[in-house]
């Protein structure tokens, strides 16, 4: 195949040379911004009318009509409580993974659908009403629920999620993050150690290390046979002389590493506390 590099190539080269000297249409984005047409629908923004009121009254028509169910809306009712929640986002994510998992042939673990026994929600509703269904008081709600029921059951967390409108994942996250909140019912005794700086200077660190060695578990967990459970406590600056260590709420007189180790071994051995009825 033979071609003589004749006029065509040279004309092309001349054109690119001329273009090299021409003004460039590039828009330097951060400094200059290309004018967007007024009717541009690229901006997703919630419209306000001229009086400043929100134009959306959470009728969920758009979330219902959306072909790919990508609209996640949360609505506040008239008494300013955040309660109505059209949230495919939560299920959407799980649903997509679920179908992918099922298509791959693996069994589909479905924690939210695992049957959990319902609880009597009277006490829980009282706590929620008292806190005003406000998701920002989540830690207080969970603490009082644990005091009321002994531990945080899945049913309780589901109910709190529905009532306050926060996602179940958020509530579950808060419950599992703090050491003093426990999801499993505490079988045996609860040994709580304060972790504030003043107690640590007085030896709480060594006590904790000894307790973890003796109960062969870490803070927030319970010993293998469930006799003892280690938790973090808050001495609120109250412990004058020694580290603040409590066993089932009773403050320990000599909170030293050796003392606590003996206590825990006795508890785990006898599975019944010495000297407690």
């Amino acid at each position: 195949m033979s071609f003589v590099p004749g006029l065509g190539i040279l004309k092309g080269m001349a054109l690119t040379f001329r273009n090299m000297l021409r003004l460039k249409p590039t828009v330097q984005y951060p400094e200059e911004v290309y004018p967007v047409a007024p009717r541009h629908r690229g901006r997703l923004l919630l419209l306000y009318d001229e009086a400043g009121a929100l134009k959306c009254e959470t009728c969920f028509q758009c979330a219902q009509a959306c072909p790919i169910e990508c609209i996640d809306m949360g609505g506040v009712d008239t008494r300013d409580r955040y309660h109505v929640h059209w949230g495919p986002a939560e299920q959407y994510g799980e649903r997509r993974e679920e179908s992918a998992l099922r298509r791959s042939g693996r069994p589909v673990p479905d924690p939210t659908a695992t049957p959990f026994e319902p609880i009597d929600t009277a006490a829980l509703d009282a706590i929620l009403a008292d806190e005003g269904y406000d998701p920002r008081h989540m830690l207080a709600i969970l603490g009082r629920t644990q005091d009321a029921y002994g531990h945080l059951s899945v049913a309780a967390l589901k109910h709190i999620s529905h009532a306050t409108g926060a996602w179940y994942a958020e509530v579950y996250g808060t419950a599992t993050f703090y050491d003093q909140l426990r999801m499993a019912p505490a079988g045996g005794h609860v040994l709580a150690i304060c972790r504030c700086p003043s107690c640590t200077f007085r030896g709480a660190g060594r006590v904790l290390a000894a307790a973890e060695a003796a109960a062969s578990t870490t803070l927030g967990g319970s010993s293998p046979e469930g006799a003892v459970r280690l938790e973090a406590a808050a001495c609120h600056g109250g412990s004058p002389g020694a580290a603040y260590v409590t066993l089932d709420g009773a403050v320990q007189a000599e909170p030293t590493a050796r003392g606590i180790t003996d206590l825990l071994t006795r508890l785990r051995a006898g599975h019944a506390p010495a000297g407690r009825a």
């Binding site: 195949m1 071609f3 003589v4 590099p5 004749g6 006029l7 065509g8 190539i9 004309k11 092309g12 054109l15 690119t16 273009n19 249409p25 290309y34 967007v36 047409a37 007024p38 009717r39 541009h40 629908r41 690229g42 009509a65 072909p67």
Partner: protein, 407 residues
């Protein structure tokens, strides 16, 4: 080389050792061949090799895998594998109402999405026997022709990019960007416009759109002409595309080609003239055709079509009447039970929809006929005997859009 018995890490899960080595180069499918064509393709003679122009490849326009049987550099046979971009649009449309069909059909031919949303609207209007106001018809023609020019400008850039030229793709994008910004001023979006409605269009012409259209029309043709002069007469470009993928009239008809590949063989089949729709009968334009039917003829054809489109836009701007842009239609559309076939001339060929309605507000069946689906088929016929570099040129000149092919 690595001997088979050494333990090979699996490609999927590096922590897993597999005894049989990961057959990276094994394009032959593990299951037995299902048809004689598959059996004949996957039996390799002496000196032949299977190579994947894989789903991720710089010059497959979208996600397309082509298994090439090559002997040295020469292609012996070719088997395109589709389905990588299949979203089941037809099944989704059967479960959504007539308005949602438009937004589902938008991303099918995403480079010219004004056409891919115009056809289901046309079919629905045939079923509903609704008359669209003339101003809406003219706006539709205006928007479609603008979109055609932007799609053709991009085509020329891609063809040159697949042949190795770096500059034409950017000149093509410059042209396309100007038009797409104009359409964004009219419709609100740059790529998937979602502008057509059953019975009319979404918004009327506004000042922003008309001013941009005005100063674009003043230099429209001159810009495209001189930016494409870079490759029109370039000896290397002509040498690579002249006589490549030559189709004669009979094979073109037998391969059900449509659009530029068919008109490049001399057959003047253009749906705007063959079966006029909307206001095209009143507009005066002619159908450019070429005789050679090879890649270079297809390339030049796109240039002529841009001239015709600019001519059409000019006429539309002079004749556009006033009046409403939407017909009076109830919010819930329940077309009469029946069937309707509607087809328009998209930049890649005849784009048709066969809509069946059973009286409910959901279409009973929505068959989408995409021109790239049939144009891509002729690659299998044209490329045996050429080199690997040529298959890129042939595919680029047929200009398939994988969104439309895989539906």
């Amino acid at each position: 080389m690595t001997s088979p018995e050494t333990r090979i890490r699996s490609l999927d899960d590096p922590s897993l050792f597999v005894d049989t080595p990961a057959t990276i180069y094994d394009a032959i499918p593990p299951y037995p061949p299902r048809t004689e064509r598959e059996a004949e393709f996957y039996t390799l003679r002496e000196g032949e090799m299977l190579i994947n122009i894989g789903p991720q490849h710089p010059s497959t326009h979208g996600v397309l895998r082509v298994v090439l049987k090559i002997d040295g550099e020469r292609i012996v046979d070719l088997d395109p594998v589709l389905g990588y971009l299949h979203r089941g649009v037809e099944k989704i449309c059967e479960n959504s109402d007539w308005h949602m069909v438009i937004s589902h059909c938008d991303p099918l031919e995403y480079i010219a999405s004004m056409f891919s949303e115009y056809v289901p609207v046309l079919a629905a209007e045939k079923l509903l026997d609704v008359t669209v106001p003339r101003r809406a018809e003219y706006i539709r023609v205006l928007a479609c022709e603008l979109n055609r020019i932007s799609s053709h400008a991009l085509f020329m850039g891609w063809l040159a990019l697949d042949l190795g030229g770096i500059t034409p793709i950017l000149y093509g994008f410059l042209e396309r960007d100007e038009i797409v910004e104009m359409l964004a001023a009219l419709t609100g979006q740059r790529l998937l416009f979602n502008y057509m409605r059953i019975g009319g269009v979404n918004g009327d012409l506004n000042h922003e759109f008309m001013s941009r259209l005005g100063d674009w029309m003043s230099h429209a043709l001159r810009h495209i002409e001189d930016s494409m002069a870079l490759i029109n007469s370039n000896e290397i470009f002509v040498g690579r595309t002249r006589g490549l993928g030559r189709i004669d009239r009979q094979t073109a008809l037998r391969m059900c080609l449509s659009g530029p590949p068919l008109r490049a063989t001399g057959i003047p089949y253009d749906v705007r003239r063959a079966h006029p729709y909307s206001v095209y009968p009143e507009l005066e334009f002619e159908i450019p055709t070429r005789e050679e039917g090879d890649s270079y003829a297809r390339y030049l054809l796109h240039l002529d079509e841009i001239k015709q489109s600019i001519h059409i836009i000019d006429q539309v701007l002079h004749r556009i009447p006033d009046g409403p842009i939407m017909a009076k239609l109830p919010r819930l559309l329940r077309p009469r039970p029946g069937r309707a076939w509607a087809a328009i001339e998209s930049p890649r060929g005849q784009y048709g929809v066969y809509a069946m309605s059973d009286g409910t507000d959901q279409p009973f069946r929505l068959r989408i006929h995409d021109p790239s689906f049939f144009n891509l088929q002729s690659v299998g016929l044209l490329s045996p005997g050429h080199l690997i570099a040529d298959i890129m040129a042939i595919m680029a000149s047929l200009d398939p859009i994988m969104g439309g092919v895989d539906k």
